[in-house]
Symmetry: D2
Subunit: 434 residues, 4 copies
Amino acid sequence: MEIEKAVEAMRKPLQLWRRDFHQYAEAGFMEMRTASIVASTLEALGYTVFAGEEVMKKEARMGVPDQSVLEAHERWALENGADAKWLSKVTDGMTGVVGMLDTGKSGPVVAFRVDMDALEIQEAMTDDHIPFTEGFSSVVANRMHACGHDGHTAIGLGLASLLMQNKDALNGVFKLIFQPAEEGTRGAKSMTEAGIVDDVDYFIATHLGTGVKAREFVAGNAGFLATTKMDVMFTGKAAHAGAEPNEGKNALMAASSAVLGLYGIPRHADGASRINVGVLEAGTGRNVIPSGALLKIETRGETSAINQYVREQAVAVLKGAAAMYQTEVDIRVVGEALSSEPSRELVDIVAKAAAQSPYLDHVVNYDDQSAGSEDATYFMERVKEKGGLATYVIVGTTLAAGHHNEKFDYEEDVLPTGVDVLFRTAVALVRESK
Amino acid sequence: MEIEKAVEAMRKPLQLWRRDFHQYAEAGFMEMRTASIVASTLEALGYTVFAGEEVMKKEARMGVPDQSVLEAHERWALENGADAKWLSKVTDGMTGVVGMLDTGKSGPVVAFRVDMDALEIQEAMTDDHIPFTEGFSSVVANRMHACGHDGHTAIGLGLASLLMQNKDALNGVFKLIFQPAEEGTRGAKSMTEAGIVDDVDYFIATHLGTGVKAREFVAGNAGFLATTKMDVMFTGKAAHAGAEPNEGKNALMAASSAVLGLYGIPRHADGASRINVGVLEAGTGRNVIPSGALLKIETRGETSAINQYVREQAVAVLKGAAAMYQTEVDIRVVGEALSSEPSRELVDIVAKAAAQSPYLDHVVNYDDQSAGSEDATYFMERVKEKGGLATYVIVGTTLAAGHHNEKFDYEEDVLPTGVDVLFRTAVALVRESK
Amino acid sequence: MEIEKAVEAMRKPLQLWRRDFHQYAEAGFMEMRTASIVASTLEALGYTVFAGEEVMKKEARMGVPDQSVLEAHERWALENGADAKWLSKVTDGMTGVVGMLDTGKSGPVVAFRVDMDALEIQEAMTDDHIPFTEGFSSVVANRMHACGHDGHTAIGLGLASLLMQNKDALNGVFKLIFQPAEEGTRGAKSMTEAGIVDDVDYFIATHLGTGVKAREFVAGNAGFLATTKMDVMFTGKAAHAGAEPNEGKNALMAASSAVLGLYGIPRHADGASRINVGVLEAGTGRNVIPSGALLKIETRGETSAINQYVREQAVAVLKGAAAMYQTEVDIRVVGEALSSEPSRELVDIVAKAAAQSPYLDHVVNYDDQSAGSEDATYFMERVKEKGGLATYVIVGTTLAAGHHNEKFDYEEDVLPTGVDVLFRTAVALVRESK
Amino acid sequence: MEIEKAVEAMRKPLQLWRRDFHQYAEAGFMEMRTASIVASTLEALGYTVFAGEEVMKKEARMGVPDQSVLEAHERWALENGADAKWLSKVTDGMTGVVGMLDTGKSGPVVAFRVDMDALEIQEAMTDDHIPFTEGFSSVVANRMHACGHDGHTAIGLGLASLLMQNKDALNGVFKLIFQPAEEGTRGAKSMTEAGIVDDVDYFIATHLGTGVKAREFVAGNAGFLATTKMDVMFTGKAAHAGAEPNEGKNALMAASSAVLGLYGIPRHADGASRINVGVLEAGTGRNVIPSGALLKIETRGETSAINQYVREQAVAVLKGAAAMYQTEVDIRVVGEALSSEPSRELVDIVAKAAAQSPYLDHVVNYDDQSAGSEDATYFMERVKEKGGLATYVIVGTTLAAGHHNEKFDYEEDVLPTGVDVLFRTAVALVRESK
């Protein structure tokens, strides 16, 4: 009863946070405004706050935007409400934030992960889209929170508030991890390699929606495919196609041969694999042998090993295709995620805690239906390697349109629901380990 | 001596025309300002002027820009110096102009062709580029006269002046043809099919530069490859590459297979052939099966028959590749040119006339070195079919940079040289046929 | 105890049968000698015997050898010990045999399937290969029982003997099905479509080996992939590659494009799929454009629906590739099998019966590890459709080398083991249905 | 008149030689019987005879059959009429023979080349095929003189006879070169590199037929395409296509990708090029990932430089394709020929001599229509490099069917014709250089 009351008191702040983040949508590694507000809010709540290089290993990031883009966005953030003090710590594509609450009493280290980045989508401006009609749709062209990370960030702050309010009743240490660049699976690795979960006993990543109904909850979501995202550039030599065709080195032929080779990578006996060339752009003019060809590809595997297999085959295909046509090839990994199984022991604890929540009607322990990818798996695998337990939970809600759709939206009830379940889980974990 | 004097008197107007056209560069089928000024100038000189639908068969044009683009350009032309009266006749992608001078005396019909269109190139704005330093570089972004058609148009007007000045000394009929959209070989066919050269006895198309040195002249340029330009669109079905790869119809796989098939079209025993896929653009996102793929291709052949062979093979490849991956394919011809041999008899007459020019040191009768394409070949083949003679001449000049280069430029001496040689040719042809 | 004694009495005849069949190995649809001996033996035992057109639908066979090959083999069979009377019923690629024992008492119809065909493999003639050292290796060049079907046939005859010996103690009807051409999954469909299992209540197909250890038994083997085997012939037009390359229609280019397209068939979201081009033979001479190309391909799917998906994609790829290069393509289905789940109820009965066998130490109820294909699935699916129960059992044994290896061999203990378990199963089924 | 008489006296021996060689057709590097008879005949005529290692550089041969094949053929030759003494010098794939006649008087070194090898074709045994009806068709299965080399060898011996008969009237040195393995352009290089034409002033290679009519003669045949023949083997790793597709390394995918890449080698601006994959054989069984793939390919070029370009592109394609699929590739050059222009000065001498022949109605000086290849070009280029003159002549005849056809045959009149023209040429050359 008391928890419910405290959660209800957060309902309004949760909505305000969510709507603010939604309105100022920022893409991966550019969540400068968001991160600075998160850090400042955590600090105000009494958390010890770490950010930027303290919580990310710079060279482990993938798919970071160009420096000029980052710098322009920093100026934008400053002009659009960023917290100036914290902004300086989260520039330069180093936008991760961690808030730590040490109760001073012995107990487990419990970590919660939320993510903060938006997508490169132009938000719908139509009368059937609530963020538009209620005036909080994205003010940034071609940027939109179309996957719910605005809500995740709000839930993280709401949970932080509740934990701090109940500090005396808790023990151990709580870490609230605000991750950048989950889209494209680009950011988690850098936080993992900075060591921020190396001491964690219980790790819980959270997502809303994904097809789970309102008032339902999944305590252990599995089925994430390991994945690698690569940008591939073939470089040959241009030549006039009529006058000197033999002088060219045809990057498009290399790319086309690579495309067929990539899709032809053999199936793996041990489980599902995927390969896709989502984008190919080549050539400049009709009468010129194409000297450049860019491919955006991704590999996936039911396990990290299968993904690794596909990735290695892909690299061989790409290098061989380049050699066939005497071109050069540059292969850049711009995103990566692992597969990871939730720890059944932790799943049971979370499920039991969730069952107490007045915001839920139905709790699913374990679900492996997903066919997407998530880089929270980096945290999960690291925690399990170090002897801790990890899971990935999903808070259900009714969606106006699917994830990554220009009309994506969810019911804001999901925000107190998330805070409630995660707070109950924190309490349960503390008790469990006594 | 008198000719030289008259030509020298044109030197300044030639420069003014050329620089004006250069500054207001217009792409193919959008030469509205240029054509309206040409028409108005010819009219002022005393020519009977035909334009638009009078000289072009609408449905025989290829690669015409979208209607909205044409309309926007019409507004631009009006605001930028077009002749309002004539503009109305050359809108809507119907920008061809023909000026006719009938001496009233029996004699041959002699036609000269020049072309008027610019390229989609951003002109250099550097201190080593004379059009920039002398203030007449293109005012239009991404449009540039980088192939000398500004000079061709000026030569056409200069020749028109001289012919009219000497009307009494001449006999027969003169036609000055100002063709749109030579780039991409898109415009000549429509003028040919309108019948404008059906009564022509002697036809001479002119180009400047192309590697011929200053003070040199080629009286019969052969070696143009027949060509077909095609835009090809494969349309499949998008699907999430991780969740439902079997639901997609992969347009990129079709396109890649087509690319390899196209380059694999067998050589022809009868002579040189060419095939190129200059541009390929496919896909929207890394994790989506590409549902669309656009190819810009061209075929060529040493003869029209060989080009036709390559074109037919290409269509089979494209349709088959579409079928392989259960996609649709749309093939659009956006340009075409023939091969054509100059008439040796006419070449000799032109060469003899050119040998009299004080602007030349060296005359080449016949050259078949070219490996490019030209749609003046449509006029040439039609004239020869109807019993006339045709040739293609080149007036040499020193180039600052190659054709289609952002720093392309030539010496303006080539303008009076061109007028001089063509006028001497006109005189010779009239005498010849007496 | 009594069963064991009766089984032990069969040990010698089982060995003699097996070794005889092994020595006179016959490929699919050519098991004329084997089938005639089987039929004659069953008849001698007192069975009502059906063969050839009585038990096979001619046009439902797949991958039948040429008539001339069948005829030559018939002569060979006659000269090598075939039963002349029965031979005449099993010529012409109609080599199936069914022995029926009707107890005259009401009861279930129980069917057992064994297969009879050998492989096109040259048997090893080395001192570590028992069939060679003990003098019963194949006398036919390039034909070898390298998958144990010689043993299956022997087990079938041994079981027939035991059932007949115990006729009075049994009730219902027993059908012993001797199937041709299981290799390449070519024969079962024709027997199924002849209706021979339409009245069957319990159906049990048997295999030995396949990795199951000696003294182990699998009562319900699942995991067979549905499959389609196709022979594909591309026909183009030959031409001298130097003198007239443009005159050819290149069947090898079509085939090569098809190969890449086939391997590129998208994975299916619902489960495992497979595609293979096992053989490609094209062309006649180095300087001739290849006018013919033969591909031997197979598709597979975790379910029949997935296999159907792959097959449909494959057909599209093949037809499209043919069209790309203006060749013809002929696609012939030469083998096919379904996926099929064993009936759990029957699996339990069989497992319980097997647990009584003194020849076994360990019984596995259900195993879905297989990644091969079996056309016994046609019988299984038909029986289940008609309301019966079906399973596929495996009798373990130690193998000298893997299936389809030139040194494949097994311990002959597996023969009485198989007879024992199948006989106990028959007894159990009769009791079950009382 | 005297020449004609002497030539007519050779008519019968020419026929006998030709028919004997035809009957005992031997493939390239296996002309052991033929070469031994040639050597023994030359010796009997009084020539100094060199053979085997004296006239061939062993390691410069290409496409030599396996040792076991050579040895088996040696036994066959001995049993089928080879000259035992000379056979021992022309075993082991070293079947070249040179007969030298030194007049002892100063004068030019004049060389004539003929070739001796048959093709791997099964000769027709039908009533419309004269070699069959007249009883001299090939006694060897799958070996046939279907390109006229039997006649060339006979002409060589006939010419040898005439030269020797007229030794006193001649001066200088005559070399009669009997070359092995012209088919596949495999043998000439090894004789050239042995230096046998390094001192030659005039070199004349001879062919009959090739479309030239009876009683016609070409004194300077040009237009041979330079060529390289390669056998290419891709080696991967076999694996069961159903159970472990990821374990294979697919040689057929590599080969298929290579095929498309090879045909896609860009045209050359400087002249005609060719590429062909005449044969592809891959794989063992339908359900096995193919671990091996053999390609027989050839490149050609209007010039040796263009052929070299195509060859280099091909090697890059092959190596790249192997790398794409993680397979190994072995590329073996099994034949090669150059392009070569006949020396115009020599052509004129030959044409003038031929014009005197009573066996001819028409002499063509220069013809460049051919699109085939010939390794006599090695001799020609070497002779010209060393300062001599070289040409390639064709003696016309009516063909029953085209070259390399199973019914190929020619009129035996061509034999005395060839001897007559070549002898007149020898006389003319001796006079010329006086």
